[in-house]
Amino acid sequence: MNATRRDFLRIGAAGAAALGFDLAPARAEARALKIARTTETRSTCPYCSVSCGVIVHTAGDKARNAKPFVVHVEGDPDHPINQGSLCSKGIALKNNIVNDRRLTKVLYRAPGTDKFEERTWDWAIDRIAHLFKETRDRTFREKDSQGRTINALTSIGVIGGCTDANEINYLMSKTFRAGLGVVPIEQQSRI
C-alpha cells in the first residue's frame, strides 16, 4: 500500500513530462472566417436617411446551382459617410432580410372575416385591377363644380415609398397620378 501510494505520486509528479500535452488543440480554434469566400454586394441601409453603405455577404460564388442566401451584413468601409460603421439597426440588417416573419405568400382577407387566406398573384392582381377600375369608373371626377376639367380621382389613396428606390417612387407617381389620376398620394415625409 505504501509502495502503491508512492508510485502513485511518482507517476503524478512525472505526469506532465511523461504524458505531455498535445498542444495543437490548445489553439483556441479560431472559427474559420465566415465571410472568407462569400459574394459581396454593395447596398444601402434602408433605415434612416444617413444612407450608410452596407455590404451584403451571400453564400455561393454566383454559380448557377447555388442559391445565394445572406450570411452576414456589415458596413462598407469605402463609404464616405459611415466608413464601415453602422448603428445597432444597420448591423442587424441580416435580421431584416432573413426573418421567419417575412411575408412569402399573397394573402387575402375577405369582408367580415378575421383572418387572411392564401391566394395567387394572378388572382390578386386581377381582383385589385377590377376593384380599382370599378371604383375609378364610378367615382372619377372629370369636372369640378364649376365645370372645369380636373380629371381627378380622389376616392382612392396611394401612400408609400419612403424606403423604395427613387425609381419606384417615380413609377408610383407616374402610374397612379399621371396615369390613373389619383390625387391623394402621400408618404412618410408628411408625418
Partner: protein, 800 residues
Amino acid sequence: MTNGWNDIANADVILAMGGNPAENHPVGFRWVMEAKRNRNAKLISVDPRFHRTAAVSDVYVPLRVGSDIAFLGGLIHYSLSKKRYNEEYVRHYTNAPLLIREGYSFNEADGVFSGWNAETKSYDKSSWNYELDGQGYAKIDEKMEHPRSVFQLMKHHYSRYTPEMVSKICGCSVAEFEKAAELITSTYTPDRAGTIMYALGWTHHSFSVQLIHAAAMLQLLLGNIGIAGGGLNALRGHANIQGGTDCGVAYHNVAGYIAMPKSDQTSLKQFLTAVTPKPLRPNSMNFWSNTDRFFVSQLKAYYGKTATAANEFGYQWHPKIPQAGTGYENWSWGFLFDAMYAGKMEGFLNFGMNPVSNGPNSKKAIAALSQLKWMVVAENFDQETSSFFKPEILATIDKKPADVQTEVFLLPAANFAEKDGTFTNSSRWIQWKWKAVDPPGLAKPDHEIIARLFLRIRELYQKDGGKFPDPIVNLNWWYSNPVEPSLDEVCKEINGWDLTTGNQLEKFLDCKADGTTLSGNWLYIGMYTGAGNLTQRRVNTDPTGLGRYPNWSFNWPANRRIMYNRCSADSKGKPWDAKRPTIAWNGEKWTGDVPDYKPDSAPEQGMGPFIMLPEGVARFFVPGQFVEGPFSEHYEPAESAVVNPLHPKTSSNPLVRRFSTPHDKLGEAKDYPIVCTTYRLTEHFHYWTKNNPYNMEIQPEFFIEIPEELAKDKGIANAQMVRITSARGSIEGKAMVTKRIKPLDINGQRVYQIGFPIHWGFLGRGSQKGSLANLVTPTILDPNSFAPEYKGFLVRLEKV
C-alpha cells in the same frame, strides 16, 4: 440638409435641437464627434430630455416641449441686441434691407399679425409684402435703418424675446440660456462656422414651419448658411424620404417640387404663369423662371409621343387639385384619413407604410380603414395596418371583424437587398444599390407589383373601355420588360434625354419647354448622363479634405455638395474663411464646389445668391408664403399645460388645422395636466425592427420615461406598469423613472413632462401588448406643412 453629413465635421458649434441625432442618426452623428474630437467643436443640446445626444454634449439646456420658437427667438434677439451677427452677410445675402409695405404690423397684445380677421379666423396677407417700385422690384435701404426695413421690423419683433422671457416660456434658467446663446452666436465671425441639426422634434409641431423659419433666420444672421460647417440641416427620417419628396410623392406637388396643377389652372399656359415666379430684384437669377422646361419635360416623360404641343403635352390628362371654397381640396395625410373616416374613399394602396402605427391618432386611422371597400398593402412583414381587421386591433374602436367589410390584399414585397435602385439621403446623395439576393418565397419588388397592376388595369380599359382612359392608355410605358421595368431604365428616364439626339441630358437647362426633351424629374438631371449612371460612382477621394467627395454617387442639385454656397464667399467673392472655402471667384469663374450660382457671374454684378428665390436673397421676412405670419412667433401647442406668456389671448397657433370627429377631441390641462412627447430610440427603426430578434433583444418593451419627482408624487416605482391617458385614448407600459427629465418652472407654474418611444404595437416579436404610441396622439396639423403635432400634447398618468 443644406450641407451634408460629412460637412458637419467642419463645424465649430453644433446646435442639436428638435432632434436627437445621436439616437436617431448615430452614424451621421459620427461627424459631430469628429468635429468635437478634431476641432474641439462644441455641441449644444437643447431638448426636454437629457438624451443620448445630451449625454455627449458640451452644453445642455432643458426646455419645455413646444417652446422652441421662443428659444430661437431669444437667440435672434441675443444676436441682434449684442450685435453678434455678420452684417455684410445680412446686408447682401438676405432681405434685411428690403422695405415692407405700410400697413404691416404685429399686434403684441393679441399675438396676431396685421390682416387678422377674428371672425373668419383668417389673414388677409396683402400687407405682408415688399414695397415695390415701378418696375415691380422690392425697394431697398442698404443701410437697413428704414423703420420698415425687414431688419428693423425683425429687431422690433424679437425685442420681446429677452432671456427672461425665454426662461419664462421654455423653463430653462436665464444663465443656461445665456451660456448657450453666447456659444451659438459666437459663430457670427467669418472664421467660425455653426450648424443646426434638427429633425422631427421640430417638424412634429403645429408651428413646425415657423420653427424652422426661426432657425433659418438665426443661421442667416450668423452668416452660417452656404458655408462649410454651417447650414440648416434637416436630418430626415427614412432611407428615401428625401427621394420620395423629390419624386413628387405628395399630394401637393409633382416631381421636382413643381406645384400640382389646380382646377382653376385650366390650361398649361395658365398653370405655368401661376407657378412661375417673377423676379423681385433686378439682380435676381430667379431660376424657377425655367419651370416651363421642367414641367413640359416631365409631361413628356409621362405621356411620351402622345404628349404634343397641340394637346398641351397632355396637361389635361394630368389630374388637378379640385377647388374647395376659396382654396383647394387638401389631400395631405391628416385630411386623407379624415376623408376616409367620413367614408369618402373606397380604395387604398399602401406600399410599405403602416398608417395605423405611424400616423397620428391610431384609433381614427383604424376607424377610417374600416370604412374602405378595399385596401392593398405591399409589405415585408405583416403589420398593424394590413391586419387592422384583427379582433385585438378593432377592439380599440369597439368593433369586431364582422363589422368591417374591407377587402384586404397583403402582398409579399421584396426588401432593400432584394432589388436595386437609388436612395437619396439627407445629404441629397443619390446612391445606387445593387440587388444581393432574391426575395423570399413569392415576394416581388414593388415596381413589379405596380407594373403588373397598372398593365392589368390598362388591359381592362383597352378591352372594356371606361371612364377617361386616355392617360392610362397613353402612359409612356416604354420599358424593355414592361412587367418588371428595369430600374436602370427608369433612372435614365428620371434624368431624361433629348428626343432629337437621343442623348442623356447633362444639365438643368438642357431640358426644353418645346417637347423635344423628356425628364421625369428636372432636379435629378445630371445623375444619368452620357457618362453613364453616376449614382453608381464609388470614388471616395476627398481632394479638399473638407468631406465633399465630389465623385461619390451624385449629389442633387447638379452634384452640388453645399447649397447656397455663393454665401460662403463675401461680396467680393473671397471665401469668408480661407481654411474652409466652398467656392471662390478666380476672376473668370467660380471655383470649388459646384456653384449654386451662375458660374460666370462676377461678384461685382451683384447677382443674388439665392437663385431659387425671386428676391435672390434669403428671407427673414417671408412675404406671404406662410399662413400664420411673415415672422415666426411663439405659439403654444394646441394642447398646452400653460397659457402663452407672450399673448394669452392668442395662446396657440390661430391657424392650426384640426378635425371634428369624436376621435379628434382635445384635452385641457385641468384633466390632463402632464405634458407628453413621443420619440424614437436608436435600437429600433419605426415599426419594422419589432420583427427583428436582435433589435427586440436590446430594447424589448414599451416604456414611459417619468421624472423622478413626478414618480415620487404618484408613488410609481421603476419598471412598474403605468397607464397614460389622453383625450384620444390610453396605453400602458413600464415606467422608467429617470433623472433625465426635470420638472420645469414655467412662468411660476411647475410643469411635468413625460415621454415615450414609439416602436411597439400589436404585431411583432416578443411582448407587443398593443402598446401603440399613437393611440394617444392628436391629429393637429401645422397649417403650412400639415404635419401632425406628435410632440407636446397633454395626458394624465396613473399606476396600473
